[in-house]
């Protein structure tokens, strides 16, 4: 008798488990795979990106998920190395069977994953700047940040307005700066500007006064443009000030985080750079459609992490939102359908600007997404 009860109980438990399992499979989570450079030289891109994805996935799950399904996020840290990124991308696609890939914090890690993404056929939203990610257009590859070429164009446009025609370029020799340097060389002529000095430094150089002295002694330099991220631009800025150079100093969008101002200190006064609306939400015009989006994002991010928001966090936010919106429009996470819907993204208001993609434009941002910003009294001031 007692045995019978035991059996009965066991059977009931089993049935319950089966039922639960059945339910779970009915609403399988939407799997989002990300490979980011959370450590290594690009960690200040990857780290906020990772935090942002984690925060929003958790938040949406608390609110009941998307389309009645929970979100599941799988993140791997590629340390900024291309070969690692490629292996992790493969792992996400083959082993974790994710529905979408987000990531590649740098152009190198993104490009390393592109061949297998194209082969596997999975929507892939990159968070890196390089223009070669979306030019030429690759069927499955999209990106959210502005390209380095756009940053260069914005800066040259501003210089032209100020009547500057001879400039010096100083860039770091790692991925971001090198690519920015090459794009700058490509577009600078369109603005009637001539690069009369072209210098390079390594991201970890303790001192770049040698390169800057060379620039200082080059006749005719009317402005200096620095392309780089991390501590390098802060050292450039300090050395620039140390040498008593007085021409305008331009930085790229790579320094659009408060850390740069903190590190460079007073030397950063008067530095001009292109940046997304996210760094100056309060100064945007009330009619700017971006205003509510960036204000909310900044508030949420800063409340959650007690640290200043950077535009890089915004790239991850935009990537996630663009994917979720596309999935909602497609009504499923069918890879082909989601891809088509991402390509049809139109009028999405993100932290980076208005995004309208087409079959020939897998980024969908225009130059108007950038604002010229000047650093005054240790803060960003909108100046265009």
């Amino acid at each position: 008798m007692r045995n019978l009860v035991k059996w009965g109980a066991t059977a009931m438990v089993c049935a319950g488990v089966v039922a639960l399992a059945g339910q779970a499979s009915a609403a399988e989570p939407i799997k989002i795979g990300a490979f980011l450079s959370a450590t290594g030289p690009a960690s200040f891109l990857g780290e906020p990106e990772k935090k942002t994805l984690e925060m929003y996935v958790e938040k949406m799950n608390k609110a009941g998920g998307v389309m009645g399904r929970k979100l599941e996020l799988v993140v791997y840290d590629d340390g900024g190395a291309g070969d690692k990124a490629s292996t992790f991308a493969k792992r996400l696609i083959e082993s974790d069977k994710v529905d979408v890939l987000i990531g590649g914090s740098t152009t190198g890690t993104t490009m390393a994953a592109v061949p297998l993404v194209e082969r596997a056929g999975i929507p892939f939203i990159s968070l890196a700047g390089g223009v070669n990610i979306v030019e030429p257009v690759k069927k499955w590859v999209f990106k959210t940040p502005h390209t380095d070429r756009m940053a260069a164009e914005k800066v040259f446009g501003d210089m032209k307005k100020k009547g500057i025609s001879k400039i010096a370029l100083i860039s770091e020799d790692a991925g971001f700066g090198k690519s920015g340097h090459d794009q700058s060389m490509l577009v600078v002529k369109n603005y009637g500007i001539e690069i009369v000095a072209d210098e390079v430094y390594s991201p970890k150089d303790p001192d770049v006064t040698a390169q800057l002295t060379k620039i200082k002694n080059t006749p005719g330099v009317q402005a200096v443009f620095n392309f780089g991220f991390g501590q390098g631009p802060a050292i450039v800025t300090k050395n620039f000030k140390q040498l008593g150079m007085t021409v305008p100093l331009y930085q790229s969008h790579g320094v659009a985080s408060k850390d740069y101002i903190k590190l460079a200190g007073e030397a950063a006064e008067g530095v001009r750079l292109p940046a997304a609306g996210l760094v100056v939400p309060d100064q945007l015009a009330a009619t700017d459609p971006q205003k509510p989006v960036v204000t909310a994002f900044k508030k949420e991010y800063e409340a959650a992490f007690k640290s200043d928001v950077s535009t890089f966090a915004g790239h991850a936010y935009d990537g996630l939102q663009i994917f979720l919106a596309a999935a909602a429009r497609a009504g499923s996470v069918d890879k082909e359908k989601v891809r088509d819907e991402i390509e049809k993204t139109s009028g999405y208001v993100g932290t980076g600007g208005l995004v309208s993609m087409t079959a020939t434009d897998h980024m969908g941002l225009s130059l108007s997404a950038f604002h010229m910003v000047e650093i005054r009294k240790g803060d960003w001031v909108l100046s265009d």
Binding site: A81, D83, S95, D182
Partner: protein
């Protein structure tokens, strides 16, 4: 040897998807480089902190020759290997006169110089953002997909091990061990030590270059990072961790250190700490490396019986 063949053949039973094959291929590629490097470090007793540079040269040689000059992949691989071999020969003579840490510094310098050149000459190499290349084609046959690469890598690994074992058992191998034991002693009894050292240096560099070429074709995209200082340190770690002067030890070390980051990826931020502890722990408790230490333990247990 037979055991290795069986392991290579049997491992895919546990592979449920092509990601596992991919990791398997990477592990075996690393193993081949390490078998070569182990000849230098383990048998000849000469350290090199620059072998990732040779690996990268092989990779970029293949990428450049196939994409820009339409050289067939096998030709590109051969030309790259020859060039790397020649380079190793030219720099090997003066460098291998150095000893210990000075040699480490010199090889490290060469690796870094190669890395800087690849990074800077973006007109050819695409700079830090990397460059892409095509599949490996030979005699109208295309190697693609992780499964096919797995078998190619497996066969090459067995070939490399066979070559290494033969080299060690040859007069050259005996001369090398004499160099390791006491260089002056070897010289006194008439061994042309520097020629032998250069020979091994060249052989190990060519191993790295060939694998680099194949790796480039397999991944379809390469960045200069593969030639960085860390790459070189990683390779040396594999050799030493697995067991110096043990061909199979190098294979074991390469496989473990390729798999470890994949296993640790799930612990995210603790990855570096755990990796560091494993490296320190292994070397403290098994200073001769994993395989030799384990074998010695087995033997002593049997003897005790």
């Amino acid at each position: 040897m037979a055991l290795l063949a069986i392991v290579v053949a049997a491992a895919p039973i546990g592979f449920t998807n092509s990601y596992f094959y991919d990791v398997g291929v990477n592990a075996m590629f690393n193993a081949i480089v390490c078998v070569g490097l182990n000849l230098l470090i383990g048998y000849a007793g000469q350290i090199s902190l620059g072998h990732a540079g040779f690996f990268a040269l092989g990779a970029y040689g293949s990428a450049l020759l196939t994409t820009m000059y339409n050289v067939p992949p096998i030709g590109a691989l051969t030309i790259s290997a020859l060039v790397v071999g020649l380079l190793a020969f030219v720099v090997g003579r003066p460098i291998l006169k150095l000893k210990g840490h000075y040699l480490a510094m010199a090889t490290l310098g060469i690796g870094i110089i190669i890395h800087i050149v690849l990074k800077t000459e973006s007109k050819f190499t695409g700079g830090p953002d990397g460059m892409s290349l095509d599949n490996f084609k030979m005699l109208g046959f295309t190697v693609m997909g992780d499964r096919m690469w797995y078998w190619v890598a497996g066969v090459l690994l067995i070939l490399a091990v066979w070559l290494a074992l033969n080299l060690i058992d040859s007069p050259v191998g005996r001369a090398l061990r004499a160099v390791h034991g006491s260089e002056v002693g070897a010289e006194v009894v008439g061994v042309d030590t520097s020629s032998y050292k250069v020979l091994v240096f060249v052989v190990s560099a060519v191993f790295a270059s060939v694998v680099g070429s194949l790796f480039a074709h397999k991944n379809g995209f390469i960045t200069p990072d593969i030639g960085s200082f860390f790459g070189s340190v990683h390779l040396v770690t594999m050799v030493v961790l697995g067991g110096m002067a043990s061909v199979f030890g190098a294979v074991v070390g390469a496989v473990i250190l390729t798999l470890l980051p994949q296993v640790l990826a799930s612990v995210e931020q603790y990855e570096a700490m755990i990796l560091g502890v494993i490296m320190m722990g292994t070397m403290i408790f098994m200073p001769k490396g994993l395989l030799p230490s384990l074998l010695a333990k087995l033997k002593s247990r049997e003897a005790g019986r």
